[in-house]
Amino acid sequence: MRTIRYSFFLPFFLPALFFLLAGQVEAAPKYKRSVEKYTVPDVTLVNQDGERVPLRSLLEGDKPVILDFIYGTCTTICPVLSIGFSHFQKQLGADAGNVRLVSISIDPDNDTPQVMKEYLARYNAREGWDFLSGKREDVIQVMKAFDAYVVNKMNHFPLTILHAPGSKHWIRITELLGSSDLMREYELLLKK
C-alpha cells in the first residue's frame, strides 16, 4: 500500500468542489418552477413547542415564507430539504429572523411536538423555523390546498413553496434545491 496521505489536501477539496459544481449550477438551472395561487386553509396546527398556530396568519403574515412538507422519519427527501433550510438560516445569519421557514408534517400521527423538537435540534434550527403537525384531517386539508397530497407518504416528492408578504402568488418548486438555488429564489422573492 502506498503511503501518500491525502488528508493534507482536505482543506482544498471542499472549496474546489464548490467552485466546480457552482459552475454547473450557473450553466443550467435544473429545477421545475411555477407560479401558483393557493388559498391557505383556516386550520390550527401545533408546533414543536406544543403551541397552537393558526396557519393562515402564519403563512400570510408580514414576513416572506418558505414552506415544505416533511416528516420526522423520512428516509431521503426530507433530510435534504431540512439541510437546505438549516444552511439557508446559517447563510442569512443575523437576518435569519426576517424570513419564516415552515415545515408541515405529512406524518402527523408520529410527529408529536417532542419528535418535531428533536428533529429541528438535529438540524440546528434557529428561531424562525417552525415544524407543524396536528389533526390528520387538518394536515390533509393543508396538503391538498398546496397540491402536495399523496395517499402514501412514501410517495411524496420534494416541494418547496415561497411566498412574499401581501402577494397573491406563490412560487412552487418541485425539485430538491442546492444552497445557491434557494438563496437566489429568496432574493428574487424580495425584489418583487
Partner: protein, 571 residues
C-alpha cells in the same frame, strides 16, 4: 479566476492520492476487523468518525452537511439495500450488491449451465444483451464514489448523494464496513422455505392460544397453497420475471412453547433457536411482559412482528420488535397529553395517582409519568393500595380532602371503584381518569353520578365502528371454518397475515432481516385491514404502529357507552 483554477487543481491532486488504496483495502494498523466493523457502523448509522468528530460532506452540490444530520442509513437503510421514496431511488450499498456488476437487466444473470443456455425463456434477446450499468466496485472505486460522486462506469451520481470528506484511515474503515454489510443471507431461509416461529409462554388461556395459532396458520396455509404454481414459475418463468418468481418461498410456522418461570424463558428460547433457527418471529402470546422475548430478539437481531402484548418494551433505540402499540404505557401517555395539551391543566395543579402494585398499573404509571416529565410538570403524588386495603366512600373522601387533587388517576380495576360515588357530593370534584383496559371495557362499574367527572383511556376503535370494522375478519374466519374464540386476537393476527406477504415480497431474494423490517417500515399507513385500531402508521424505525388512544367520557344509563373527547392522536 486564478483562484478557481488553483482550487480545481488542488481537488484533482487530492483525487490522485486515491491509488493509495490499491484494489484491496488495508485497515489502519492496530484496527481489527471487528473493531473496523464497529467503527464503520458508527459512521454509517450515526455519522460519527472514529475520532468522535462528525463526518463532513456536501449534498446537492453546495450544501455542507454535518454527518449527524443526515446519515448513510437514513437513505440506504440499516440493511444497505436502499429505498425508494417518491421520485428518489437510493441504490443498495451493501457488500453483496456493490462488489458485483449492476446489470441493466435488473436481477437477470446470464445462464450458467448448458441446459439453461439452451432455454430461450432464460435468455435475453441479443439486442438486450448490452453492457453492464456499472462494473463491480473495488475498494478504490468505492472510495472514489464516496469522495467524488463518480461511479466506476464514470457516471455522476445524483447530487442528493453526499460527497464525503474522509481521510484515508476513516475511508478504509467505511469501505470495510460497506463491503461486509448484508453479505450473507440470514438464517432461517433456504432455497424453498422461510421459517418463522411464534412464541407462546406461561399461563395463556387455551382459547387465546387457539385464536392466535389457527389464524396465523390459516394465513400460512393460504400462502403455501400457491406453491405448486409459484415453484413452477420459479423454475421456468420468463427471464424478465426471474427476480420476482425466484424469490418465492414456502412459509413454515414453528410454535415455541415456553414453560415454567419467566427466568427460564431466555434459555428455552436459545434452545429452540439452536435446534432450528428461524428468520423471524411472528405474533406471539405471553402471560405478562414481552421483555424476555424482546431481549432475545435484540441479542440475536431477529425481527419479531406484532406480538400480542399489552406490556411491550418501550425503548427509543431498540430495533427488532415491531409492536402494535406501547400497550398500557400508551394509555398513560395519552392521559398526560390530554391533560397538558387539551385541558391545559394549570402547572401547579396537583395530580394524585391511586393504584395497586401490578403490571397494568406499573405500565400506566410509567407512561403518564414520563410524558408528564417531558412537559416539565411536577411529579404526581402516589397512593398505593396494599393487598388488604379496601376502597370505601370514606377512603375516597379522605383522598379528596387530604390531597385536594385537581386530577385523580385511578389505575385500578372495577373491584376497587366501590364507594367512589361519594366524591360527587364534594364541592370541587377532581377530574377522574380510569383505564378502559383495567376495567376490561365493562363500564357499569363506574358509578352513574361520577361519570360526568370521569375520563377514560380508550386505545382502540370506538364501539360504533367496531362491528363494521370486524366484519371482514369474521367473514374470513367463517370461510375457513375457524371458530371465533377471541376476536380481538384474531383480528390482529388477520392483519399480520395480511401485511406479511408485502414485507416478504419487498425483500425479493435479498433475505436479510433488517431488510425484512424495512419492508414494514415502508408500508402505507393502514386504516382498512386493521379492525382493532382506527389506523396504524409506519415509518423508518417506528416500532409502535398505533400512535393513538382516545380519551372518552361515558354516557349515563344502565348501558354506558364511550363518547370521544379527543382525537385518536392527541397533539
Amino acid at each position: 479566476m486564478t483562484m478557481k483554477l488553483l482550487l480545481i487543481t488542488a481537488a484533482c491532486f487530492f483525487l490522485s492520492a486515491l491509488p493509495a488504496f490499491g484494489e484491496e483495502i488495508k485497515l489502519p494498523a492496530g484496527v481489527s476487523d471487528e473493531e473496523a466493523l464497529r467503527l464503520g457502523e458508527k459512521m454509517y448509522r450515526e455519522g460519527i468518525l472514529p475520532s468522535g468528530e462528525p463526518m463532513q460532506a456536501i449534498v446537492m452540490g453546495d450544501i455542507p452537511v454535518d454527518g449527524r444530520m443526515f446519515t448513510c442509513d437514513d437513505c440506504h437503510q440499516r440493511s444497505g439495500l436502499g429505498s425508494v421514496e417518491g421520485t428518489v431511488i437510493t441504490w443498495p450499498t451493501n457488500g453483496k450488491e456493490l462488489y458485483q456488476p449492476r446489470r441493466k437487466t435488473g436481477a437477470w444473470r446470464p445462464p450458467e449451465g448448458d441446459a439453461e443456455k439452451m432455454n430461450d425463456r432464460r435468455n435475453l434477446p441479443r439486442y438486450w444483451q448490452i453492457e453492464d450499468a456499472r462494473p463491480a466496485y473495488t475498494d478504490r472505486s468505492l472510495a472514489r464514489v464516496l469522495l467524488t460522486g463518480v461511479d466506476p462506469a464514470g457516471r455522476k451520481l445524483n447530487p442528493i448523494m453526499p460527497l464525503y470528506l474522509l481521510g484515508e484511515e476513516d475511508m478504509s474503515i467505511l469501505v470495510h464496513y460497506l463491503k461486509n454489510l448484508s453479505v450473507e443471507p440470514a438464517p432461517g431461509v433456504d432455497d424453498s422455505t422461510i421459517r418463522f416461529a411464534t412464541v407462546v409462554a406461561g399461563n395463556v388461556a387455551p382459547e387465546d392460544r387457539q385464536a392466535m395459532l389457527t389464524t396465523l396458520q390459516a394465513h400460512i396455509d393460504a400462502h403455501n397453497s400457491q406453491s405448486r404454481h409459484q415453484e413452477r414459475r420459479s423454475a421456468s418463468g420468463p427471464f424478465f420475471k426471474t427476480e420476482m418468481y425466484q424469490a418465492y418461498r414456502r412459509l413454515q410456522l414453528d410454535v415455541w412453547e415456553l414453560h415454567g418461570p419467566e427466568e427460564t424463558w431466555p434459555a428455552q428460547l436459545e434452545n429452540y433457536y439452536a435446534q432450528e433457527p428461524v428468520f423471524a418471529l411472528v405474533g406471539g402470546l405471553v402471560a405478562g411482559s414481552w421483555r424476555p422475548v424482546h431481549e432475545f430478539c435484540e441479542q440475536h437481531k431477529i425481527p419479531a412482528i406484532f406480538p400480542l402484548t399489552d406490556f411491550p418494551v418501550v425503548a427509543e433505540s431498540d430495533w427488532y420488535t415491531l409492536y402494535f402499540s406501547k400497550g398500557l404505557y400508551q394509555s398513560g401517555e395519552a392521559a398526560a397529553r390530554f391533560l397538558h395539551a387539551h385541558e391545559r391543566l394549570a402547572d401547579d395543579a396537583p395530580v394524585v395517582v391511586v393504584f395497586r402494585e401490578n403490571t397494568e398499573s406499573a405500565a400506566l404509571r410509567r407512561g403518564f409519568a414520563e410524558s408528564w416529565r417531558r412537559f416539565a410538570r411536577p411529579e404526581p403524588r402516589y397512593v398505593s393500595l396494599g393487598p388488604d386495603d379496601r376502597t370505601t366512600g370514606e377512603f375516597w373522601l379522605d383522598i379528596a380532602r387530604s390531597h385536594r387533587p385537581a386530577v385523580l388517576l385511578l389505575w385500578l380495576g372495577a373491584e376497587d371503584l366501590g364507594g367512589m360515588d361519594s366524591l360527587s357530593g364534594e364541592e370541587a370534584v377532581p377530574k377522574i381518569f380510569l383505564s378502559s383496559e383495567m376495567l376490561n371495557y365493562s363500564f357499569n362499574s363506574v358509578p352513574g353520578n361520577i361519570r360526568e367527572f370521569a375520563y377514560l383511556t380508550y386505545p382502540r376503535s370506538l364501539p360504533e365502528t367496531w362491528d363494521k370494522r370486524m366484519l371482514p375478519v369474521t367473514r374470513w374466519l367463517q370461510a375457513r371454518d375457524i371458530p371465533v374464540t377471541n376476536l380481538e386476537i384474531q383480528a390482529k393476527m388477520y392483519f399480520l397475515g395480511w401485511m406479511l406477504p408485502g414485507a416478504i415480497g419487498y425483500m425479493r431474494s435479498e433475505f436479510f432481516r433488517d431488510y425484512f423490517l424495512e419492508g414494514f417500515d415502508m408500508m402505507t399507513d393502514q386504516d382498512y385491514a386493521i379492525a382493532v385500531y382506527p389506523r396504524l402508521t409506519f415509518g423508518a424505525g417506528q416500532r409502535y404502529a398505533s400512535k393513538g388512544c382516545y380519551i372518552v367520557r361515558l354516557t349515563g344509563g344502565p348501558d354506558p357507552r364511550p363518547v370521544p373527547l379527543s382525537d385518536w392522536v392527541i397533539h
